[in-house]
Each structure stands twice: as structure tokens, then as C-alpha cells.
């Protein structure tokens, strides 16, 4: 076990996948000698060579579409889009091709590719570098969408994504790249996609979150504990499919739920979780389900960014509201 940050865990998982499987190739903008703008691929071109760690021309459409073709013809491409704001041209390939190839050929061709992209705000990046549009991707039938919130989960989920026989979008909360470290074992073990992580047990209220928002949510649970409110904390980890059972089971126990995400409120994934709980857990609910989310605004430039990001204070306010509901 070595202490790793999330970026180190991602780099370690990529190295492990390249080591274990000759069909794995990495490509994207600046992933080679530069090691990626966040250094996720640092050193990999030296270890595995320029044929397997490739700098592409600056073409998001080709990065995604070439991954589709390469995956269908026997490689396991792990393609990188440099920032989520530049992922939109790739959506055509994801929605029209990657997600459909198995279905439309009735299994004759498949698309075992991973598209990695850093997402989210909080690092004072220029405009178009801080978006959280995971709900757009989670709406596409045939995809899987994964977001880790710790170094160890990043390692295990990325290996799972690469080994998955179908396309996976792997979104990396870039605010967490270097924000925390923990012991991670490079044991080659994958974590299951589609299973939420119950991080903390508690009987009073269920908090559901993912990605970088876990930072604020974890802080909020500590503050709540000091007030005598025991929150149960779920890291959803997988946005598609959603582990509905784990969320339902928790809410059946606590009777209260607050969902926290950085992405805009309207038609965000909090709405899906809330609707699922309304359908399946109505009689257990003691209070309305609350969402603490980004506003339905364009992501502000860095000087106003902190005002957009859901804060621990907003989470506490929402929890107090559901606790006091009668």
C-alpha cells in the first residue's frame, strides 16, 4: 500500500491496465510526452512507448470516434478528453455510435472503450473548463457513467471501466486530483461499476452525493454529528446505472434524503433519484426530498465560482429543513 492522490491512483491504474493487457491503448491531447495537462499519464509513454500512449491531433470528434472504431476492431482504447467543456463534439460519437454498436449489430460488434474526462469546478480554471454535465451523458442508453470520489475508488473503478466490455465514460473530479491522499494498493483489483458506496452509517437522514461534492458532504456530516444528527452518507460512484437499491434501503431506514450535486439543478440526476424514491419509498418518507445543487446558470468565471458551488452550509441548511419538517 502506498499513499496516493487521485491523480496518482489514476496514473497507477492506467499503467496497470497497459501492463496487463496488450490491447489497451491510451490516446488524447497531450497525453504523451507532456503526461496530460493534469499529469494523469505522466511517465506512461516512457514505459509503454509512443504506439500505446499516443498524442492525437487536436480533434475531439476523432478522439471519440477513433476509439469506437479501434474498440470494435479489438483494441481497448482509453481516450482522454482534456476538459469536460470540450466533450460536446464527442457526444455525437458516444450517443450515435459507442452506445449503440452492440445493440444495432445484435452483439456482432461491440465497443469496449473508456472516455476519460476531468469535470467540475473549484480550481479557478478558465471558462469552459469547469462544467458538470454528467446528467447529459447518463441520459444516453447504452453507456455507463462513473465518477470516483477517492483515490482508491478511482483506481478500482478505472480498472473496471477499462475491463468492461461496453463503453464507459469515466469522469474525474479534478478538484480532488490532489486534494486528498490515502493508501492504495496496486493489486489490479477492480471495483464493481453500478454499486454505490455506503461511506458512513446513520439513522437520521440519507445524504447522496458523488465526485468532488463528497468533500462538502463529508464535512457536513461531521458538523451534523456534532449537533447530534447522524447522517448516512452514500457515494453514488456510478451515475449510470444508478444503484437504486442502496439508496432506497437507506431512505427506508432514515426516512429523509438530501441529494447533493455540483451540476445544475434542473433535470440533474438528483431529480432521477428523487423520483425513484417518491415511487418506491413514499411510505417511509418523513419529509420532502431536498436537492442541493448547482444553480441553473452558466458556470461563472473563477471570481464568482465559489458562489456557484454547493457549500457545506447549504447542505446543512437543507438537512435542517428536512429534520424540522412536520
Amino acid at each position: 500500500m502506498t499513499d496516493m492522490t487521485m491523480i496518482e491512483a489514476i496514473r497507477t491504474a492506467l499503467g496497470r491496465a497497459l501492463q496487463d493487457d496488450a490491447d489497451v491503448v491510451l490516446f488524447g491531447e497531450d497525453v504523451g510526452i507532456d503526461g496530460g495537462v493534469f499529469r494523469a499519464t505522466d511517465g506512461l509513454i516512457q514505459r509503454f512507448g509512443a504506439a500505446r500512449v499516443r498524442d492525437t491531433p487536436l480533434s475531439e470528434t476523432v478522439i471519440a470516434g477513433m476509439a469506437v472504431g479501434a474498440a470494435a476492431h479489438g483494441l481497448k482504447p482509453v481516450a482522454e478528453i482534456q476538459f469536460m467543456g470540450f466533450l460536446y463534439p464527442a457526444i455525437d460519437q458516444l450517443a450515435n455510435h459507442a452506445a449503440r454498436l452492440r445493440n444495432r449489430t445484435r452483439g456482432r460488434l461491440s465497443c469496449p472503450m473508456v472516455l476519460r474526462a476531468p469535470y467540475g469546478g473549484g480550481i479557478k480554471a478558465p471558462e469552459h473548463h469547469s462544467e458538470s454535465m454528467e446528467a447529459m451523458l447518463a441520459h444516453i442508453p447504452g453507456l455507463r457513467v462513473v465518477i470516483p470520489s477517492t483515490p482508491a475508488r478511482a483506481y478500482g473503478l478505472l480498472l473496471a471501466a477499462i475491463r468492461n466490455p461496453d463503453p464507459v465514460v469515466f469522469l474525474e473530479p479534478k478538484r480532488l486530483y490532489r486534494a486528498l491522499s490515502e493508501p492504495v494498493s496496486d493489486d489490479g483489483l477492480a471495483l464493481p461499476i453500478g454499486e454505490a458506496v455506503l461511506e458512513r452509517e446513520g439513522g437520521d437522514v440519507t445524504l447522496v452525493s458523488w465526485g468532488a461534492m463528497l468533500m462538502e458532504t463529508r464535512a457536513a456530516t461531521d458538523m451534523l454529528a456534532s449537533e447530534g444528527i447522524e447522517a448516512e452518507l452514500i457515494d453514488l460512484s456510478s451515475l449510470k446505472p444508478i444503484d437504486r437499491e442502496t439508496v432506497r434501503t437507506s431512505v427506508e431506514k432514515t426516512g429523509r434524503c438530501v441529494i447533493i450535486h455540483e451540476a445544475p439543478l434542473t433535470a440533474g440526476l438528483g431529480a432521477e433519484i428523487s423520483a425513484d424514491l417518491a415511487e418506491h419509498c413514499l411510505t417511509s418518507l418523513l419529509a420532502p426530498i431536498y436537492r442541493v445543487a448547482g444553480y441553473d446558470t452558466v458556470m461563472p468565471y473563477p471570481r464568482l465560482e465559489d458562489h456557484y458551488m454547493p457549500s457545506a452550509v447549504r447542505i446543512l441548511r437543507a438537512v435542517h429543513n428536512v429534520m424540522e419538517f412536520e
Binding site: P57, S59, T61, V62, M66, G69, A70, H73, L75, Q93
Partner: protein, 346 residues
């Protein structure tokens, strides 16, 4: 600027010495038979659509020489990535008539080719097959295969970023790929001259640093010869080629289109004089003793085969509705199995 590569004129007269493969009568008869078969399929498909027994269908009338010429030069280990107008190529590669009818009749099983298992199904979103071809070529290069990825798109496709970006990476990485443009002069209602100010679509290869060649797309010998050379270059590790095939869309864009809204019948009539079947038939008659009996026998056998395939397609029951859930993922997530269960298909 050189003239488009051509060996036969519109009447089938030799313009120059034929390439080696074209001195063999049997090879030319096979190409001719494939084009006749494609046109017969086209006729049948349109008639089925007009009588409510097939979905919206994109005719390849007049462009048979492109598809057949291109794939005629390919090897089994190559991969074909067609647009939605390359039925002739798919048939030559071993996709069955019944599979094509199934696909155009709205049944995904039509893409589960028994024959060319690595070939891609047709690509409906224009030009988005070119990045796939780059990816297939990358996989071939990476795995040390000697195959080549061959993608075909229309003239309209050359206006899209997908096309330019893919051509660019093919050039940059010297990928074993051949991009073919079926320039049939029309992208639905927009004529070629309103698509781009480029003098030749083949010139778009210049920006990617790869060869671009214009050929008479109604001359199957020229198409096959140009493709053969491009495939050899790719197999020799010399990278990709862009081939622009000049042809004409004699039919509507699809069965849902009415081309009389935007183009003159006189223009269509003019192009009927240059269509690809007549010239090769004239050449076969003149050089290889193709007889009226040969012609009639070919038409009859194509007709019989296509009628039988159509009957088989029409007799094929739709899949069980549960199929829409079954093939989405290798292992369906619980969300999907739960919806399949709720749907309650047996």
C-alpha cells in the same frame, strides 16, 4: 490538373490500355453481374417500400460502379465502413440480400452479418463513419494486421468536420485507410457546387498531406484500379488515400424524397447517358462475347434470387420485443433488467 482516371467512355470505348485485371473477361463479368444484382435489389427495395413492405430506403441507382469497384479491390481481412448508399459493396462483401432487406425493413438483425463479421453496418449520421475507419486502421496498425479500413461517404460528407478531422489523423499517423467519396452531385437538395468552392473534392486530401485522386465513378474499372493502388500503398505502410468518384444520383435521395422539387429532369436524362452499366455491357459485348442470352440469364437469375430473398424477409417474424433490452449491454444493469421485467416479454 489531371483528368479523372477513366478507362471506358460512356459508350464503353477504351480510352487507354486497360489494367491487368480488366483483361480477364471473367473478372469483368463478375463486376458487371454485381452491378446488375445491386440495381435489381434497388428496384425491388423501392417497390417493396412503395407497397408498404419496407422502410425508408436510399437508392444507389447510377452509383453501382463505385461500391462494386471499391470492394472488388478489397481483401477479406480489410474492413468496409459504408454510408447508407453502398448496397453493392455490402453485397459483394458477403452481406446477404435478406440481411439488407431486414435492415431496411427495420430489423436490427440485418446488421448481424453472417458474412463479413468485422465490417461495419451502414452509417446514417453523415461522415461519422470516417473516425471509425481511422480507429479500425489504428487497431490494424497496432496489431500488425495487413488489413486496410475502407470508408465510403457522399459529397455532402466532405463538408463535415468528422471527414476533415479523420483525414487529418490518417495522414498524421500514416494509417492504413482509404476514404472514398461517392460524389453523386447531390446532398438531398443541395448540389455539389453549393456544397463547397473546392474545385475537386479530391483536393481536400492536400490539407491532410495524403494523395487525393479523382476517378470516373461510373467506370468500374477505374474505381477498382484506383482502389487497388490505394490499398497497396496502405498495405505497404505508406498511409491513406482519398478517392473521389464522380457519379450522379439518378434516383431520389431516399424513398421519402421527391427530387423533382429541386432539379431538372433534363439534367437527370443527361446523366442517364453516362450511367455505369451500359458502358461495361458494351465493352463485354465487344471484347468478351457477352450475348443477349447471357444478359437475359443474368437478369433472370438476379430477379429470382432477389424475389426469393424478399419472400424470406417478408416471412421473417419480428424479433421478440424483449430484444430491445437484450442487446444493449453484454451484462444488462439492474435498471435494464427491471424495465425488461416490467415490460413482461416472454
Amino acid at each position: 490538373m489531371s483528368d479523372p482516371l477513366a478507362f471506358l467512355d460512356a459508350d464503353g470505348r477504351r480510352l487507354r490500355d486497360l489494367p491487368d485485371f480488366a483483361s480477364d473477361g471473367e473478372t469483368l463479368k463478375a463486376l458487371y453481374a454485381a452491378m446488375v444484382r445491386t440495381r435489381s435489389f434497388d428496384t425491388k427495395a423501392i417497390s417493396l417500400q412503395r407497397t408498404g413492405r419496407l422502410g425508408t430506403y436510399a437508392s444507389s441507382l447510377g452509383q453501382e460502379a463505385i461500391s462494386v469497384g471499391v470492394v472488388g479491390a478489397m481483401q477479406d481481412a480489410d474492413v468496409f465502413l459504408p454510408s447508407f448508399r453502398e448496397h453493392g459493396g455490402q453485397l459483394w462483401r458477403g452481406v446477404t440480400l435478406e440481411e439488407l432487406f431486414l435492415y431496411w425493413g427495420g430489423d436490427e438483425r440485418g446488421n448481424d452479418f453472417a458474412g463479413p463479421r468485422q465490417d461495419f453496418p451502414v452509417c446514417i449520421p453523415v461522415a461519422s463513419q470516417f473516425p471509425h475507419a481511422a480507429g479500425v486502421a489504428l487497431a490494424m496498425q497496432q496489431k500488425g494486421e495487413r488489413g486496410v479500413a475502407v470508408a465510403v461517404g457522399g459529397d455532402g460528407a466532405t463538408s463535415k468536420g468528422d471527414f476533415y478531422e479523420s483525414l487529418n489523423v490518417v495522414g498524421t499517423w500514416q494509417l492504413p485507410a482509404v476514404f472514398v467519396i461517392n460524389n453523386n452531385e447531390w446532398a438531398i437538395s443541395v448540389p455539389r457546387k453549393e456544397q463547397t468552392r473546392a474545385r475537386r473534392l479530391a483536393d481536400k486530401a492536400v490539407a491532410a498531406g495524403i494523395p487525393g485522386e479523382q476517378v470516373d465513378g461510373n467506370d468500374v474499372i477505374a474505381v477498382r484500379e484506383a482502389t487497388t493502388r490505394a490499398l497497396s500503398r496502405a498495405r505497404a505502410g505508406k498511409g491513406g488515400t482519398l478517392i473521389e468518384c464522380l457519379s450522379y444520383r439518378l434516383g431520389d435521395h431516399t424513398t421519402a424524397d421527391d427530387a423533382s422539387r429541386y432539379r431538372d429532369e433534363a439534367e437527370v436524362s443527361l446523366h442517364w447517358k453516362r450511367e455505369p452499366l451500359t458502358r461495361l455491357r458494351n465493352h463485354l459485348v465487344e471484347a468478351h462475347g457477352w450475348s443477349k442470352e447471357n444478359e437475359e440469364a443474368l437478369l433472370r437469375s438476379c430477379g429470382d434470387e432477389i424475389d426469393a430473398a424478399a419472400e424470406a424477409y417478408l416471412a421473417t417474424e419480428a424479433e421478440s420485443p424483449g430484444a430491445m433490452f437484450a442487446h444493449l449491454y453484454a451484462s444488462p444493469p439492474r435498471e435494464i433488467s427491471a424495465q425488461a421485467e416490467e415490460f413482461g416479454d416472454d
